[in-house]
C-alpha cells in the first residue's frame, strides 16, 4: 500500500498551491501533485494577478515574487472596425505599496509560489498525472496516478485540477460543460524591448498598464480581448464564449489575428517577436454552473469549481481564496478527525459567504444575459463609436443639429424603446 499523507492536492495552480501553502505552514503533511514539468508550465491566464488575495496567503509577496509590472493604468476600449471609444483610469496610488494588482507570467510566478509551499514542507511531485480518485465505501481515500506503484492515500483529497476537472467529473460532481459555460482563450506573449514598452505605453520604471477591449475585438461575440504589459513582453489575447465561436464559425486564432492586425491596435505591438502561444478554456458559467464542491473526503477548488467572475476578469484571486478556505476547513476537520461531507461542507458555506460566493451570485445572470442578447456587443458598441465620432468631428454643423442627427440614427421610437429596455435589463444583471 502506498504512503499516506494528511492531504493530497491535485494541481499546483493558484488554488492548489494556496491550499498546500496554508496547510503545510500549519504542519499538515501535504502531497501536491502536478502534471506539468513544473508548476506553471501548463497554466494560462491573461496575466493580471490581484494583490489582496495573494497577500492573504503570503503577506508582502511582491517584495520577492517574480512579478512583471505593477498596474497603474487600466484602459477599457469599445472597439469598432475603424475606431475606438476608450475609457481609462490611471492613478499613482497604484504605483506605491501595497499596489493594486500586477502583471505576471504564470510559468515563472506559479513556480515561485509552489516553491514557497515546498519551503513550508509540502511535498511537490511534478510530471505526474492523477488518473482517478481511490474511493472506498463512497469515501475518497486517495489517488491513483499514471506512475508504477502510483497509489497514494490521504484523509482528504483536494481537486485543484483546473477547468473541466476530470476527477470531479468522474466522481459525478458535474457533467461535461456546455459550450455556453466555457470561454476559449488564446494568447500570445510577444517579446519587446523594455524601453520601447515604457515609451509606447507612457510608463515609468516598473509601471504597467492593461487594456480590456470589447466589441469588434471579438466580432461581436460575447468575450474580450486584452493587452497587458510585462517587463519586456506584451500579452495579447482574446477569449470568447465557446458557444459564440461555434455559432459564428470563427476559430479563436482567427480572432487573435484580427485583433493583432486591427488598425487601432496594431501599432501597440509593432516590432515584436513572438515568444509563446497559449490556449486555454476558462470556466465562465458562473454561479449557475458551480458543480458539487464537497464530498466525503474530497473538496473542489479554483477553476475546477468554476470560480471565475467573467465580467471582472477575476479567477486566480477566487482560486486562491477557495484554496485557503479549503485549507481552513481541512484543519478544523483534522482536529475533529472527521472528514465526512457534513464536516467538510463548512468549506462550501464559507466560500459562498466570502467575496467569491457573493460576486458569483451578483453576476449569476450577467454572462447568460449578454450571451442571449448579442446586440449589446454587436450593435451598441458601433453606435457608441459613431456618436462619439460625429460629435467630435468639427465640420461646421451646429452641435444641436449633430445631436439631432445622432438621435435620429439611433433608430425609430420603437427601437429606442427596446434600447432603453436593454439598458435596464443590463443594469439589473450587473447591479
Amino acid at each position: 500500500m502506498g504512503e499516506k499523507f494528511d492531504v493530497i492536492i491535485v494541481g499546483a495552480g493558484p488554488a492548489g498551491t494556496a491550499c498546500a501553502y496554508t496547510l503545510a505552514k500549519s504542519g499538515v503533511s501535504v502531497l501536491l501533485v502536478e502534471r506539468g514539468e513544473y508548476p506553471g508550465s501548463k497554466n494560462v491566464m491573461g496575466g493580471v494577478l490581484y494583490r489582496k488575495m495573494m497577500e492573504d496567503v503570503i503577506p508582502e509577496f511582491y517584495k520577492e515574487a517574480p512579478i512583471e509590472r505593477q498596474i497603474v493604468e487600466q484602459r477599457f476600449m469599445m472597439l469598432d472596425e475603424q475606431s475606438a471609444v476608450t475609457f481609462s483610469y490611471k492613478g499613482m496610488e497604484w504605483d506605491q505599496e501595497p499596489f493594486n494588482n500586477f502583471t505576471v507570467l504564470r510559468a515563472k510566478f506559479d513556480q515561485w509560489f509552489a516553491n514557497k509551499a515546498v519551503e513550508q514542507g509540502a511535498v511537490l511531485v511534478n510530471e505526474t498525472v492523477v488518473e482517478s480518485c481511490i474511493v472506498e465505501d463512497g469515501k475518497v481515500v486517495g489517488i491513483r496516478t499514471d506512475r508504477p506503484d502510483g497509489e497514494v492515500y490521504a484523509d482528504v483529497v483536494v481537486l485543484a485540477d483546473g477547468v473541466n476537472s476530470l476527477l470531479a467529473k468522474s466522481l459525478g460532481f458535474h457533467k461535461e460543460f456546455r459550450p455556453d459555460e466555457v470561454a476559449l482563450a488564446v494568447m500570445e506573449v510577444l517579446k519587446l524591448d523594455k524601453k520601447i514598452i515604457e515609451d509606447r505605453f507612457s510608463l515609468e520604471g516598473n509601471q504597467g498598464c492593461t487594456f480590456e477591449i470589447f466589441g469588434d475585438s471579438t466580432k461581436g461575440i460575447l468575450g474580450t480581448a486584452w493587452l497587458y504589459t510585462n517587463k519586456s513582453s506584451i500579452n495579447i489575447g482574446v477569449g470568447a464564449m465557446l458557444s459564440g465561436l461555434i455559432k459564428h464559425k470563427i476559430k479563436p486564432y482567427q480572432l487573435l489575428d484580427y485583433v493583432k492586425n486591427h488598425p487601432i491596435l496594431r501599432k501597440y505591438i509593432q516590432g515584436v517577436e513572438q515568444q509563446e502561444y497559449l490556449a486555454h478554456l476558462i470556466p465562465e458559467g458562473g454561479f449557475h454552473s458551480m458543480p458539487q464542491i464537497v464530498g466525503d473526503g474530497v473538496l473542489v477548488v479554483g477553476d475546477a469549481a468554476q470560480l471565475v467572475n467573467a465580467i471582472h476578469r477575476e479567477g486566480s484571486n477566487m482560486a486562491m481564496t477557495s484554496g485557503v478556505l479549503a485549507a481552513e476547513t481541512i484543519m478544523a476537520a483534522k482536529e475533529r478527525e472527521d472528514y465526512s461531507t457534513a464536516t467538510l461542507d463548512s468549506y462550501r458555506v464559507n466560500l459562498l459567504n466570502s467575496f467569491v460566493g457573493k460576486d458569483l451570485k451578483k453576476y449569476k445572470d450577467a454572462t447568460h444575459h449578454f450571451e442571449k442578447f448579442p446586440h449589446y456587443f454587436e450593435k451598441y458598441i458601433p453606435m457608441m463609436n459613431k456618436a462619439a465620432g460625429q460629435m467630435l468631428t468639427i465640420d461646421g454643423t451646429p452641435k444641436k443639429d449633430k445631436q439631432k442627427k445622432i438621435w435620429k440614427e439611433m433608430g425609430t421610437a420603437g427601437q429606442k424603446f427596446s434600447m432603453a429596455k436593454d439598458a435596464i435589463k443590463a443594469w439589473r444583471v450587473m447591479k
Binding site: G2, E3, L31, V118, V123, L124, V125, T128, T145, D146, R147, P148, D149, G150, E151, V152
Partner: protein, 276 residues
Amino acid sequence: MLHIVACIKQVPDTKVIKLNPKTNTMDRTSAPAILNPYDAHAVEEAVRLKNKYGGIVSVLTMGPPPAVKAIRKCIEIGADEGYMISDRAFAGADTLATSYALTKALEKIQKDTPIDLIICGKMTIDGDTGQVGPGIARRLDMPPLTNVNKVVEVNKEEQFAIIHRKLEDGHEVIQTALPCLFSVEKEINEVPFSPLPHMIKAARYKPTIWAVSDLEDVDKTQLGLKGSPTIVSKVWPPEKPKGGEILDGSPQEKVEQILSMVLEKKELFQQHKEGV
C-alpha cells in the same frame, strides 16, 4: 554489498539553447537545466546493478546550488544517496580540474563506504569531451572502460566485471578488475518512467553538500579556473547546412529528378573511388 557511484552533471538543454551572436558562447539562461542525458543512463545502469546484486547507489555532482535538481532527478531514477560539491572555488573548471575536484569528493565518500564501481555518462552534451570519467579513473588508479554498452556481470566477491565496449564495427568483450570506472553509451539501457514512491522520495530529498573546506588534502591550485590549463581560443557556431529542396511531381518524376541530381554530384563518386 556493492557500492556504485554515478557521476552526473546538470547541463543546459542544448536542443533549445541559443548562442550569443557576439561571443558565440552559450546563453545558459535561454535553456532549461536538465540532467545530462547520458548520465541518466549511467544512473539507470547503476540502479539495475543494485537491483540485481544488492547494494547502494550514490550520485555525485559538482555544480552551483540549483544543480540539486539534477540529483533529485537521479533519486527519481532510483539512486539512494546524493552528494554535491559546490563552491565558488570550483567555478570555471575544465575537465582536468573537474576530475580533480570530483576525485577529492569520491575519496571522501570512499572513507565511509568503499566504492566498487563508478559509472559516468559517455560525455556531457554541453562539453562533448568525455574526458572527466577517464580523468577520475586515472587519478584513483582504477581501469577506465569507455563506450560501455552492456554490463554482463559484476562480481564483487571475486573482484571482477565483464562488459561490452562499443566499437565501430562490433563490440569488444572485456573482463576487468574491480574497482573500475565505466563511461556508458545511451543504448546500454532505457530509463523507465519512475515509480511514484521514488518521485516522493526525490521531492523530499536533501543531498549532502560539501564546500572545498569540507574536502581533505585539496591542492587549491588544481581547482577551478586556476587549475584549468584549457584555453578556449575561439568559439564559432557550426556552419548551417544549406536548406534542402522539396521536389514536386508524381513519385516516378520525383525519383527521376533526384537520380539526376545525385548523378550530377560527381564529387560524391570521385571521393568513393579515392577511398577505395
